[in-house]
């Protein structure tokens, strides 16, 4: 009788230790679902979804507090991807959060800029360089096109320039083939 209890107790201790070790050793950092959602979001950090950045929106989606159709830069394609990931129904982009626009980057008119640094403080990805009373300029490669720098500018010297199709960005189009009419 005592033997049986001891064997069972020993087994419980060993398994408990193993589980405890595994919990520490194979601990998953962060929330994997949030990471997956965040990977789909375009990282524009524009806040059009109503959250202060892509990560908070991802967290809200994961908790079920936000709909998947609140991200205009991600567009229809992004919503489809989120719907696939979460097993939810596809919904068209919600109009109150904005519309899908062609990808653009901000451009500062250097003649008009007064060097107030307000846009620098607004930029979510630190893509504007400049200093007080010095001309500012956009680092185009790092600009996400979030438009957050537009409202604070007191002299309206920032405009959004759609990214023109140039040679390095050119893509082969989906071929249009004329199908022969089969009688």
């Amino acid at each position: 009788m005592l033997e049986a209890i001891l064997v069972m107790a020993f087994g419980a201790v060993v398994l408990g230790a193993a589980l405890g070790y595994a919990a520490v050793r194979f601990r998953v950092e962060g929330d994997p679902l949030v990471e997956k959602i965040d990977a789909i979001l375009p990282q524009t950090q524009c806040g059009q979804c109503g959250f202060p950045g892509c990560k908070p929106y991802a967290q809200a989606i994961a908790k079920g507090e936000a709909e998947i159709n609140q991200c205009p830069p991600g567009g229809e394609e992004g919503i489809h991807k989120l719907a696939d990931l979460l097993g939810r129904e596809f919904k068209p982009l919600s109009a109150e959060h904005g519309i899908e626009k062609p990808k653009s980057v901000a451009f500062i008119d250097e003649q008009t800029c007064i060097g107030c640094t307000l846009c620098i403080q607004a930029c979510p990805v630190d893509a504007i360089s400049g200093a007080a009373k010095q001309m500012h300029t956009i680092i185009a490669d790092e600009c996400t096109g979030c438009e957050l720098c537009l409202p604070p500018c007191p002299v309206d010297c920032i405009s959004m320039v759609p990214i023109a199709e140039d040679l390095p960005h050119w893509k082969w189009k989906h071929p249009v083939i004329m199908l022969k009419e089969v009688p």
């Binding site: 524009t44 893509a127 790092e142 040679l167 082969w172 989906h174 004329m178 022969k180």
Partner: protein
Amino acid sequence: MSRTLHTFKGGVHPPEHKAESNARPVHAAPLPRKLVIPLRQHIGNPAKPVVSVGERVLKGQLIGAADGYISAAVHASSSGTITAIGPALVPHASGLPDDCITIETDGLDEWITRTPLDYRALDPSELRMRLRDLGLAGLGGAAFPSAVKLDPGARHDCPTLILNGGECEPWITCDDVLMRQHADDILQGVAVMRHLLGSTEVIVGIEDNKPEAIAAMQAAAAKMDFATEVVAVPTIYPAGGAKQMVQTLTGKEVPSGKLSTDIGIQVFNVGTAYALARAVHRGEPLISRLVTVTGHVLRPQNVEALIGTPMQALIDVAGDRDGTTGVLMGGPMMGVPITNTGVPVIKATNCVLVKSRELFPPLPRALPCIRCTRCADACPAELQPQELFRFAKAGDFGRAQEYHLFDCIECGCCSYVCPSHIPLVDFYRYAKSEIWAREKEKRASDLARERHDFRQFRLEREKKEKAEKLAAKAKVKRAELAAAPAAEGAAAPSDADAKKALIAAALARAQAKKAEVAPKNVDHLPPEAQREIEEIEARRAKIREIAHQPLETDDKK
């Protein structure tokens, strides 16, 4: 000296059409009035312009410097004046303009001083940088910077060097003619390649439909101090593809997603070897190349064309004809359609093929894919073109990649044999560029995420640092003030008093500072200026008074 040849799967036998252009003597194309030299002629970073508009340049002078390791320089092809640096039309499938340097030639064709390189004395990496600065890029069509390919790397060695004289694409004969005329120079270039790569085995692969070229190369090889095997390979398209040439000559297959250097083999086009010889032994940068002008022209031939010459000038040399339906840069299988014949010849231009309705009848309309798998039988890369087509058409790029889309060499065999006349390669090109664009987007969004996270971290850190700094400063001040009244024997001040004292102290400091600032240039003023100043001061005082009065709001009235 016979080598067992191997075969690769698939391939097609399109009509060769080589005899039209390879019999005529080679002439240099006339010097054009205007040369347009694109900065992006090679794979990798475009060259950076190092000249300015209005500057006079000499033939062979560096006008665009290589930018980074995978890049190549560009040079003025003739002497003249720079008239523009900016977007101009270039030979590209998109028809979009790209940055170019335009030179108005002066007809003198005046060279810079050319200094041959003593390649044996130079350090290999130094020599590679020199070659990059001489603008060397592969002349077989892909225009990959040669200096990069001549770097055996730390872990690889390249025991086998293959010189590709396959030229399997119909109509094109520039490599054939080059080998007939400059076999010795080509092998001089091979000597430099051997030196850099440390290769022990040199094989020249030439399709057996070029007996003159094979004979010329064999005669030249006999004169060299290293063993070179000149091998005739069976004529089948695309035997001149680098991977196919490797397989035919060595029986080794380049693994999927790998390079031939990973199995110790490097492949160069014969034209590249010739350009390398000219660069090393004569100090001439890559400013001209042989171009086959053929198809629907009066005198199909090969011309030595300066880089930057308009293609129309070459067509004029060969004799323009009525009834042209289009122009291709390259051959009929892989060529790029050119919409404007004013675009310049670039390093990758091996052929200007003029089309006509008789030579290239329009394809019948496409029919749906019936999955006959004739394309799979023809595919030299052993892919499943019908599946790739299905995935590309549906936008299922992940599956297309699983089916090794990126092993497709875009040779066009599948489209050639397709009984439904589906432009299959166009679909693969579309899928590839979509995948590249998505990867680029992904990299951009990863960068944005990283920068946003760092910004959040920075803002937190700055807030904390500021708070700490203020707290420390306040503590010091409070201690000072606490010490002062204690000395006077007064009671210890409360927190509120301390704050008041702090503010009073700051106010006193500010006033003292203000008092120190004396107006400048007020000595020895003429009386009228003095009077003016007094008036302004009076006005200011009045404004100050008004400003200090409490606002009269409506409810007060």
